[in-house]
Symmetry: C2
Subunit: 343 residues, 2 copies
């Protein structure tokens, strides 16, 4: 059923039917009702492509999911983020177009989305420091929102981020206050902006107390369970092991816990652990490890909000960038004295 068929069926012009369906005020109420009913009855929905072509808006949003050619891990937070964003989109009548690309094709993916006119806006995932994709997107002229930030000049674009630096500074301070002096940081890959910020926060806290960051206590890697396990095992076996471990991802923290358990030690007694938590619903996992999580809750919520921001930008393109920095809150465990300094 298309517009033409529907309109001849009703004995009206396509114009009138279109206007009735799209809520134009000049249509007589009786007519509108008649049209609406017929549309519902025949399950009519306007053809997306035709509508797009006519209006110039595609009513869809692009997400480019980069998969590194080096390590084929798919960032597990994408799923929840996408779920949140998707909710917002469907409420607003937008579609979500996903493009999974290897690093080297990413630039092409953006260019194509723009020149093919398949999306009205883009969400940029996993920004790196001085990410070249920002310039690219600006040149392209498509509205976009970054989930995270890309380096220190954050003024010129729209973004939503959690306060990674402060979060890790606070976590480090907490451990310092408890008397810890050898605090390890298991971080994500530091060419990613969030990981860099976390390291800076950690180091700032140490330096404020006059402690020089020990490079042997820091690692930057993909945040998998295996890495959490492997690195913790190595740390614990070292001559001068840390008394506390700060972890950048809840997934790695699972490996950290496993390593500690395998080594015969106990979290909160022999070694303290604090981790960032993206609040993935399926992984929530005991309360023996204190976690920092975004105040506004999960990455799911971040997806929703990023989508809202983008739709706002699309609807009024000349506004200033929209930027939001979410603070984190500390969630303490209850089962063990998780942050106690070893006697």
């Amino acid at each position: 059923m298309n517009l033409k068929e529907l309109s001849t069926l009703l004995g009206l012009s396509q114009t009138t039917v279109s206007r009735a369906l799209n809520g134009f005020p000049e249509v007589k109420e009786a007519t509108r009702r008649r049209v609406m009913e017929a549309a519902a009855l025949h399950n009519y929905a306007p053809n997306r492509r035709a509508k797009s072509l006519a209006t110039g808006r595609s009513m869809s949003i692009g997400h480019v999911i980069p998969i590194s050619s080096k390590h084929e891990m798919v960032n597990p937070v994408f799923a929840d983020f996408i779920a949140g964003a998707g909710e917002t989109y469907s409420n607003a009548g937008y579609d979500m177009v996903l493009s999974v690309v290897r690093d080297e094709d990413e630039e092409k993916a953006y260019r194509d989305m723009a020149s093919k006119g398949s999306v009205d806006g883009i969400i940029l995932h996993g920004p790196r420091e001085n990410d070249p994709r920002l310039k690219l997107l600006s040149n392209i002229g498509l509205p976009f929102v970054v989930h995270g930030r890309a380096g220190d000049d954050t003024s010129a674009y729209s973004w939503l981020d959690i306060n990674n630096g402060r979060s890790f500074e606070r976590a480090t301070n907490l451990l310092l206050d408890l008397g810890h002096r050898r605090i390890a940081l298991l971080n994500g890959l530091e060419y990613m902006d969030f990981a860099r910020r976390r390291r800076l926060g950690y180091e700032a806290a140490l330096r404020t107390r006059g402690i020089a960051p020990d490079p042997d206590l820091r690692d930057s890697n993909e945040m998998t369970e295996q890495n959490g396990f492997r690195l913790t095992t190595a740390l614990l076996a070292a001559p001068n092991p840390p008394t506390a471990i700060l972890v950048s991802s809840y997934i790695s923290a699972i490996g950290v816990r496993r390593a500690i358990s395998v080594s015969g030690q106990t979290i909160g007694k022999d070694v303290s652990v604090v981790t960032h938590d993206d609040d993935l619903s399926y992984l929530r996992n005991g309360d023996d490890i204190p976690t920092f999580t975004a105040t506004q809750s999960s990455v799911r919520e971040a997806g929703r909000r990023c989508a809202e921001m983008l739709l706002e930008l699309i609807q009024s393109p000349q506004t200033a960038p929209i930027q939001e920095l979410w603070e984190t809150k500390l969630v303490l465990g209850q089962s063990t004295g998780p942050l106690k300094m070893r006697a």
Copy 2:
């Protein structure tokens, strides 16, 4: 830059330029080269919507991701599946349209995708027993592929599944061969087809040995870490605890391991564990728990293959359904004697 501009620029008709770009044989080689170069130079890419409208094919595939209104968990295997499928799509020049919907809106999502003409085919996720969505999709007339199966009549549609029944039957037999008699099953929600098949396989193995399945040793739930932990804790505390636990998801297995560790027992010594593994790269996790995983590797690979199957169906719609059943292989751990029966 659009076709009209490009063609006037070249002093050719739109038709010729279009033909050159789309590889029609009748175009003179010299002309084609000239066109190609100009297109590359001006970064021309045909407008997707216009092309779709003209050809009647949207060159995109829909994935509907259901989020239950009861439990808001996003299935973490989606991410890897989508990554695999996305790869196939971009190689074939297709876009992927994601629609995240709550249960109650799912039917509408399919209808809309069809009537709006926004996709050429659909991948159906998370089929249930006698899933009503199958009939719906058949009526709609859009080609589709199911990741999994939906009940016992599997003849009429295209699907890709792993042999869940056999996998769990074999796992159960393995444990039985080692002398285990009280084997627990921590299963997924059994209105999901995969979980039902797993239970049937488990029960078949038990019955063959003349063991009546004990309802107290079986649970059907969302496969989260927390559930793995909670249920294992309860099982171990029961008067007549199991000597082995069969787990339906690697994520739950992490919770199972934690529960066993917290209870002061040891996997492979006090209680044996075998788990299914979807081979999510970031979760791979020790080798003290033997796993069953699909022979053809990961859910990522399944995504790729489902996408291929769907594209095949789209390109030649009158062919018979394409159906693939992947067997699983057992991967034994090395660190512990993981399947030993307690002395």
